[in-house]
């Protein structure tokens, strides 16, 4: 139950992370690899925070701050474009628009 839920939880995160990695497939060194790993980690964090918010497991204040932080980190990383979907998620949570958050997460999962 626990692991299944968490696997599902991370699905969208994995997709977003894969997108981040795919975007940067062109050869990169160690430093670049570390930056990509960090970007991957922040994108998964953003998706997990949004999923947990939908389930009422974390407060809105936390979800907003975490997504803001994730968007900032992604924006200054190797792939600033990855910050955009995270920023959209944050804005939807800000409006407490659960349907929009759900839609954005499924879009990422299906993407």
């Amino acid at each position: 139950m626990l692991s299944t839920d968490y696997d599902a939880n991370s699905h969208a995160g994995m997709r977003l992370a894969a997108l981040v990695v795919l975007l940067a497939l062109a050869g990169c060194g160690d430093q670049r690899a570390a930056e990509l790993e960090s970007a991957n980690s922040w994108s998964v964090t953003a998706v997990l925070a949004a999923r947990h918010w939908l389930r009422g497991e974390v407060p809105s204040a936390y979800a907003r701050r975490t997504l803001k932080r994730a968007a900032e980190e992604l924006a200054k990383g190797p792939l600033p474009g990855a910050a955009q979907p995270v920023e959209e998620l944050r804005a939807a949570i800000e409006r407490r628009d659960r349907a929009e958050v759900r839609a954005l997460l499924s879009e990422l999962a299906g993407g």
């Binding site: 991370s10 790993e37 497991e57 974390v58 809105s60 204040a61 936390y62 975490t66």
Partner: protein
């Protein structure tokens, strides 16, 4: 019966007071990045801290002195000056990271940026030190700190494999990638486990509580079991991060990420338990650190000291912790990432360990102070080996981490 109660309370307070920002940050990052791979580092640090805490209690009981006080009397002020200055500087950084972590817990709960919490948290800390007695500070926060046992419960709920945990604890392994970061985290974990303030605080506490020779056995039992069970919580943080964050690819660079680790085990309670653990453990550590630093200052300069004394009877002691808290608050207000500050403070702690530990070991082998209770050769060798190994590794690991070499 009274002794048994004292032992029980001592163990409980050691467990509740074990976790702090250093343990939480280093363990969460280690588990998320390397799985169980750094459990051995907690075990190594714990062996050393058990010896050091037992020694500091035994020293206070047999000699009637605290460590700092005795170093000043035995070797003179000039010998104490350099270790004192360095220890104070590191204590200041560690206090800032504890305060910062409490503020981050409040940020996670409310969404208000952590810098805004720095002054209210610092005032609460100072006020408690100003009005409370030593027992309230030590036992009150440690009993509340038992909430950190939720990490141990989470290990069972998440179904960690005991044989695998045992193997990772007893057999150190080196990863094929990111060796510099692995080494840096290993020394940070050792630094977080063998925090010098812990045994300096313990020896001052033994004097505050007026321990006599009848406390020799309770001291040994409390030091061993308390530190052992406390370390189990640190290990549990590694295991939980390894089971919940690592498989997702979440690397803990910030407390916002660490806050997710208990949710798979406890649902919405997981988030609340993480915040409570972070806030209480770090507030308790900040209290102990402020006191330990004021003790060290007072004992170095020969001032009146004692948390049980009214502030006006130990004015310079009270001014010392007030100033210490004020400067740490300024560091938090500067907006340094509390988790990064914590990790570097812990690694630097590992570097300075020999400066704090060696003079203490000399005293522990001095029959003028210790009479028939001097250290065994075995305990001397174990502590010297671990402390020097950690310091050398830290000297290598810190520049590698700072300049990003892999």
């Amino acid at each position: 019966m009274k002794r048994l109660l004292a032992i029980g309370l001592g163990i409980v307070t050691s467990i509740g007071g074990f976790l702090d920002a250093g343990s939480i940050a280093t363990s969460a990052q280690a588990g998320a990045a390397f799985g169980y791979g750094l459990l051995w580092a907690v075990a190594l640090g714990t062996v050393c801290v058990i010896f050091l805490v037992e020694m500091s209690g035994r020293f206070a009981i047999v000699s009637g002195h605290t460590i700092t006080d005795a170093i000043r009397k035995r070797f003179g002020f000039p010998a104490l000056a350099a270790p004192f200055a360095v220890t104070m500087l590191v204590n200041l950084l560690v206090l800032a990271s504890e305060l910062g972590a409490v503020c981050v817990a409040l940020e996670l709960a409310t969404g208000i940026p952590f810098q805004f919490w720095a002054v209210p948290v610092a005032i609460a800390l100072w006020l408690l030190l100003w009005v409370a007695t030593f027992d309230v500070v030590e036992e009150g926060t440690a009993l509340l700190g038992l909430v950190t046992l939720c990490f141990v419960v989470a290990v069972f709920k998440l179904g960690a494999e005991p044989a695998e945990l045992m193997r990772a604890t007893l057999v150190p392994t080196l990863p094929t990638e990111e060796r510099a970061h692995y080494l840096f985290l290993a020394v940070s974990i050792v630094g977080a486990t063998i925090a010098p303030y812990l045994f300096l605080f313990y020896s001052s506490g033994a004097i505050e509580d007026k321990w006599d020779k009848s406390y020799l056995l309770p001291n040994r039992v409390v030091a061993t079991l308390g530190m052992l069970f406390g370390a189990a919580i640190s290990m549990a943080v590694i295991v939980v991060a390894a089971l919940t964050l690592k498989p997702q690819g979440v690397r803990v660079e910030d407390y916002h990420q660490a806050a997710l680790m208990l949710i798979p085990a406890f649902g919405h309670w997981g988030f609340k338990l993480f915040l409570a653990s972070l806030a209480i453990a770090c507030f308790g550590a900040a209290l102990e650190l402020s006191l330990a630093s004021a003790y060290a200052a007072a004992q170095t300069f020969g001032w009146n000291w004692g948390e049980d004394l009214k502030p006006r009877r130990a004015a310079r002691f009270s001014v010392a912790y007030t100033g210490f808290i004020a400067v740490a608050t300024l560091i938090v207000l500067a907006g340094v990432n509390p988790m990064k500050l914590t990790l570097f403070s812990m690694a630097i702690t590992a570097v300075i360990l020999p400066l704090t530990v060696l003079p203490f070991l000399l005293l522990m082998n001095d029959r003028i102070y210790m009479k028939d209770h001097v250290n065994s050769r075995f305990s001397n060798v174990v502590v010297v080996l671990i402390v020097f190994l950690s310091a050398v590794l830290a000297l290598v690991a810190i520049p590698l981490e700072m300049f990003g070499s892999q």
